[in-house]
């Protein structure tokens, strides 16, 4: 299985993401500079955290206008698994690949610590290795991770079981304790917490590794079905 890790100017979790896919999981991974707007030939695409374009205008807004996001949209339509973490989540929202927006944390602070997440949906291709309602420990590191959407969108998210992770102790004011959501089709997931920073015990937790093993397992299953 081959992962692409998109690198924007200002990404700073790209190498962590690469390390998680390549070393912690043991799959193939490549860093893809945003100007090399080719995303064909990868089995999954990872959008890392950081501060693309210095968070100018709004977090993720400038990155969402780049050519590579046009390729990303194409891959999303094809059903390629796409995981956006932190700034990657912000970019997915700004690109319209996921509904809602992220605003400043309620307490205005940059928060950086482990948070307990509840696995609300373990039926996505990113979460099958978890049990439903598992409580996992994953670090957050953000100033603008307060998920917001209107009631209509929230009802849709609930109705289609799109809320994948929730915070046990909401640290940022997110609507309905939302930490991560998936699109209706199930192949695009965005989340504020960093599973790649919890992919091996050396980092204090390997609770995030199951996201990567789930992706690998689902890819293998699909590969076997198509073969």
């Amino acid at each position: 299985m081959k992962f692409a890790v998109i690198v924007f100017p200002g990404s700073n979790c790209d190498r962590d993401m690469y390390h998680a896919a390549k070393d912690a999981l043991g799959a193939e991974a490549e860093l893809v500079w945003y100007q090399d707007a080719a995303l064909e030939g990868y089995d999954a695409i990872l959008i890392p955290g950081g501060f693309s374009y210095g968070d100018y205008l709004r977090c993720g807004a400038i990155a969402s206008t780049s050519d590579i996001v046009t390729s990303l949209r194409r891959e999303a339509e094809k059903g390629t698994p796409i995981l956006g973490v932190c700034n990657g989540f912000q970019i997915l929202l700004e690109s319209g690949l996921l509904p809602g927006a992220l605003i400043r944390n309620e307490n205005l602070k940059f928060i950086c610590h482990f948070e307990e997440l509840v696995v609300n949906n373990n039926e996505t291709l990113f979460t099958t290795d978890y049990e439903k309602n598992d409580v996992i420990s994953i670090p957050v590191a953000h100033g603008e991770g307060n998920y917001y959407c209107d009631d209509e969108t929230l009802n849709e998210l609930i109705e289609h079981n799109q809320i994948v992770f929730t915070y046990k102790n909401n640290p940022n004011g997110s609507v309905r304790d939302i930490a991560g959501i998936v699109n209706k089709e199930g192949n695009v997931l965005g989340m504020m917490p960093h599973p790649e920073r919890a992919a091996e015990m050396l980092l204090g937790s390997d609770d995030g590794l199951k996201m990567f093993t789930s992706m690998l397992k689902n890819w293998r299953d699909q590969y076997a079905t198509n073969a």
Partner: protein, 82 residues
């Protein structure tokens, strides 16, 4: 030369923690009557184009404002010296 000023503001109901912090500071300074402080953005630009207004609307929808959380208004001034 056409000058355009675009105001981007948070929609009603969207939490504005920055506005809240400013409000608290103003209250601390003794401005007791201040409430509902909201912080927005002012984006100014000059545009050379036949249909400035149409272009501004599309630019706001596409990039300058996020329709999920923000509203925008704009003023267009014709014949402004840069």
């Amino acid at each position: 030369m056409t000058k355009v000023s675009i105001h981007v503001t948070l929609k009603e109901g969207v939490l504005d923690p920055q506005g809240k912090a400013i409000e608290n500071s103003l209250n601390t300074l003794g401005y007791d009557g201040v409430h509902d402080v909201r912080v927005g953005k002012l984006i100014e630009m000059f545009i050379d184009h036949d249909d400035v207004e149409a272009q501004v609307k599309v630019m706001c929808d596409k990039l300058l404002a996020n329709p999920v959380i923000e509203n925008f208004t704009y003023e267009i001034e014709e014949g402004v010296a840069q």
